[in-house]
């Protein structure tokens, strides 16, 4: 015996089919006309964007410099529709909750989306009588919008500007002279795209603040190993490998990191 609710829905769909048969209009030409106009608009917008990209600089360069794994400054930036995820990763801190940001929230959202037809089984379709649906839609749209905007306007750490900070770091942290080459490398190698150091840089992917990294006393060998292959020593680390820098540079970085015992 089907439940009363199922019975009601079946009857309503039967009525839908009869109504459409009696009062509906044929797909061609009516709906087809709307579809065609809309599709033409879409194609025109795409072609228009291609023109704007080619003839102006509004949409950014058509190609950045060639990929270079040994680069000393880079901006890890995904396409705009990942900005919201990207920014989510700034909110969560390594290592406890970063998994929540990277995997947990997207997975939960997908499962929720899949479940919607089974959560909301009422026949009611009018928006004003679906207050929960309205609130949920507004909240989702708002938070996606805000996160995307934040991700888009997030300030990138620029190597040249950060280099000017090095003397201040030396003063504040009382860095020894042999740590200065490492500090310069650190400022220009894109480390501060993810890490913060004495307030400079942007915390991303839950990367920790490194102002007092040396006070953990992990040692030069550890630091070099970590830079060569972060996930080998810190399981699941999303930090990229910097093995391409070469041993000499990694040693400089490690000396700098170990010398950073926090501001004094």
């Amino acid at each position: 015996m089907p439940s009363r609710r199922l019975e009601e829905r079946r009857i309503a769909f039967q009525r839908y089919k009869e109504d459409v048969k009696r009062d509906g209009k044929p797909f061609y030409p009516y709906a087809m006309f709307h579809d065609t106009v809309m599709s033409l608009v879409v194609v025109c917008v795409i072609v228009g964007l291609a023109f704007v990209w080619h003839y102006t600089s509004l949409l950014g360069p058509s190609l950045a410099a060639k990929a270079d794994p040994g680069t000393t400054s880079f901006v890890p930036r995904p396409d705009w529709y990942f900005y919201f995820l990207f920014y989510l990763l700034r909110i969560f801190k390594w290592p406890n909750s970063v998994i929540l940001g990277t995997v947990g929230i997207p997975t939960i959202l997908l499962i929720l989306l899949l479940a919607i037809p089974f959560i909301d089984m009422r026949r009611e379709r009018r928006l004003l009588r679906r207050p929960i649906a309205i609130v949920a839609a507004v909240l989702v749209a708002l938070s996606m919008g805000v996160l995307t905007y934040k991700g888009a306007t997030a300030k990138e750490a620029l190597g040249a500007e950060l280099l000017a900070d090095v003397p201040n770091w030396v003063k504040a942290e009382k860095l020894p002279a042999q740590a200065v080459p490492g500090a310069k490398l650190f400022a220009t190698s894109g480390c501060l795209n993810c890490h913060t150091y004495l307030g400079a840089g942007g915390s991303q992917l839950g990367a920790p603040d490194l102002s007092a990294e040396g006070s953990k006393n992990k040692g030069i060998t550890f630091q070099i190993q970590h830079l060569k292959c972060p996930s080998c020593v810190n399981k699941g680390s999303p930090m990229p490998s910097f093995a391409a820098f070469g041993d000499a540079n990694l040693r400089k970085l490690a000396i700098f990191l170990e010398a950073s015992k926090g501001p004094k």
């Binding site: 829905r9 769909f13 009525r15 839908y16 109504d19 459409v20 509906g24 044929p26 797909f27 709906a31 709307h34 579809d35 809309m38 608009v41 879409v42 194609v43 795409i46 072609v47 964007l49 291609a50 990209w53 080619h54 949409l59 058509s62 190609l63 950045a64 410099a65 060639k66 990929a67 270079d68 794994p69 680069t71 880079f74 901006v75 890890p76 930036r77 995904p78 529709y81 990942f82 970063v98 998994i99 990277t102 995997v103 899949l114 919607i116 037809p117 089984m121 026949r123 379709r125 009018r126 928006l127 649906a133 839609a137 894109g190 992917l205 996930s231 699941g236 930090m239 990229p240 490998s241």
Partner: protein
């Protein structure tokens, strides 16, 4: 002596012949006729065009992608140069590449708009639950298509965004590290990574998307699209029960367009 009228009929029959031939052997003409002349709710309008607009954007990606694939070389030593070549030397190459690049964004935006309209219309309800699920599966596939395509120009942005993206994948519990090393095809991003992304981007993912779109559209045609819920002539709306007084009912039916339920 064949009259003018007779000639016209003969011409028509000649034009009709291949169609009849095809119909007799495949039923395709009948199918097309059913698709084109099936009834849709009279109050469906511009909101319902978002789905086919999404489809159009996807078809643009297919077309421009095929052209790009004729010139692109999935190899770290020549990928960047081949994209430069498309931009600078190939006739209208910049247009094709620009359309592909920005068509991807338009495609993603339209998916979200289409999904929003389906949600706000409550069009995921019985009997269209399955079509909603097919749609939800299309969404991450489309995002992955964007992610895998982003690496291909092999410039700095592409390279480092992908390094970080793959590493993020690696943080997932259980499958994460496995997935990350599969995507990277090794411990470093290199030649194998690029050709793997290329293959995912132009074979596996578009194939999966195409298949799901086929299923999606089959269900749309089979079930019909839902009327706007606010429409006073919505197909399948609840009717007021005709009052049981003489003079009403069959002879004098309750007026159409009354939507209020008795309760």
């Amino acid at each position: 002596m064949p009259s003018k009228r007779n000639r016209k009929e003969q011409m028509l029959a000649a034009a009709q012949y291949p169609l009849d031939w095809l119909e007799e052997r495949s039923g395709l003409i009948g199918g097309l006729r059913y698709f084109l002349f099936r009834k849709v709710p009279g109050d469906s309008g511009w909101w319902h065009t978002l789905g086919s607009a999404t489809l159009t954007a996807f078809l643009v990606q297919l077309g421009t992608g095929v052209i790009l694939a004729m010139y692109y070389k999935p190899d770290p030593n020549s990928a960047y140069e081949s994209v430069q070549h498309i931009n600078n030397d190939v006739t209208l190459g910049w247009l094709v590449r620009g359309m592909h690049r920005w068509g991807a964004s338009v495609f993603i935006i339209l998916i979200f708009f289409h999904m929003a309209r389906v949600f706000l219309f409550g069009a995921y309800k019985y009997p269209r639950e399955l079509n909603w699920i097919v749609g939800v599966l299309l969404l991450p596939l489309a995002l992955l298509e964007g992610f895998s395509g982003y690496l291909l120009p092999y410039d700095q942005t592409a390279y480092w965004a992908t390094v970080v993206g793959i590493n993020i994948n690696g943080t997932a519990p259980f499958l994460g590290p496995f997935l990350a090393s599969f995507l990277r095809s090794g411990s470093e991003i290199g030649a194998d990574t690029l050709s793997r992304f290329y293959s995912l981007h132009m074979l596996l993912l578009p194939g999966a998307i195409l298949g799901l779109i086929g299923l999606h559209l089959y269900l749309v045609v089979r079930l019909g699209v839902s009327s706007p819920p606010w429409s006073s002539e919505a197909a399948g709306r609840d009717r007021e029960q005709a009052p049981a007084v003489p003079g009403s009912g069959l002879v004098n039916p309750a007026p159409r367009g009354v939507t209020k339920r008795p309760d």
